[in-house]
Symmetry: C2
Amino acid sequence: MIFSFLKDIVHKTRHIFLYGVAMAVLVFLLKWLQWKYLITDHSSDIYTGLIAILFTTLGVWVARQLTETKNRTIIVEKEVYLSEPADAGINEAELKRLNLTTREYEVLQLLKQGYSNAEIGERLFLSVSTIKTHVSNMFVKLDVKNRTQAVEKANRLKIIR
Amino acid sequence: MIFSFLKDIVHKTRHIFLYGVAMAVLVFLLKWLQWKYLITDHSSDIYTGLIAILFTTLGVWVARQLTETKNRTIIVEKEVYLSEPADAGINEAELKRLNLTTREYEVLQLLKQGYSNAEIGERLFLSVSTIKTHVSNMFVKLDVKNRTQAVEKANRLKIIR
DNA sequence: CGAATTTTGGTACGAAAGTATGAATCGCCT
DNA sequence: AGGCGATTCATACTTTCGTACCAAAATTCG
């Protein structure tokens, strides 16, 4: 508990610690250089130059640390075409509202394929008379006058695939 | 010509020039400080400290200049739903291949609406006989047997809106 | 079980669709 | 000028569609 608290503190202030340590090292280095070259007067320029190089390097390093999070985020909107948004889904609500019977709906699906009444009859094993009845009743419910309009409306209402 | 050449050189190396100038200014500053405080021996630490601060600042500035192009560009793809992806465009190639005449194409467009031959005739100011002719010829080109199949195929080939 | 609905099928008839054939007119191109 | 495709229209015929009216099973549901 207390350890994790201290650990957190250390983690958050590690940069400051690093700067402090680096500064201390440099100060010791400076003092050492001072003692070593203080004897010869001619070396004061070299001493100054070394200090300049050292602290320039330090400055660069410090700046690097400070600017590491200086990233600029550029968001580019890219248009992505989606194959078919909401095409697969059929309008269940509308389909229920129309109150079509199962057979009428089956006939409607075959109607869309362009089959004649006789062909539909063959596929459903029904007589042409029966198909005619279903078709006619369906037209009333869809409020259309012929099969082409029925298919057109079914497509528009998305009650068929 | 020569001027623009020199201008280009200057432009590309302006950072180096700036660094040089800054360095010269600092050297003069150092010499001035050296003359001013060299009299008193106790000021050598202050002198060193000032040099350290100056060059640290210089280092930070240099680093800033070097990392100015450190921007990270993040491209985010954003999905944009387009009203109707490829619906507006009709298949011109297929339409041309079918070799429909102008009248046949007009009839086809009205056929899709579920109009009867008589209604199409009224809208195009033509007799029912003419409409029948166009419709029948069109069926051959589309390779279909009735109007419902014609509309279905036209929709599938996207040769009509 | 009984009523309502759905499904199936039939007949009849008119309307519309579709096919086949022929023909006149028009615009365009060589 | 002649050829050609497109357009227009007509007639005749067959097929399909669509409606109306009816009715017997089958199914669903309270």
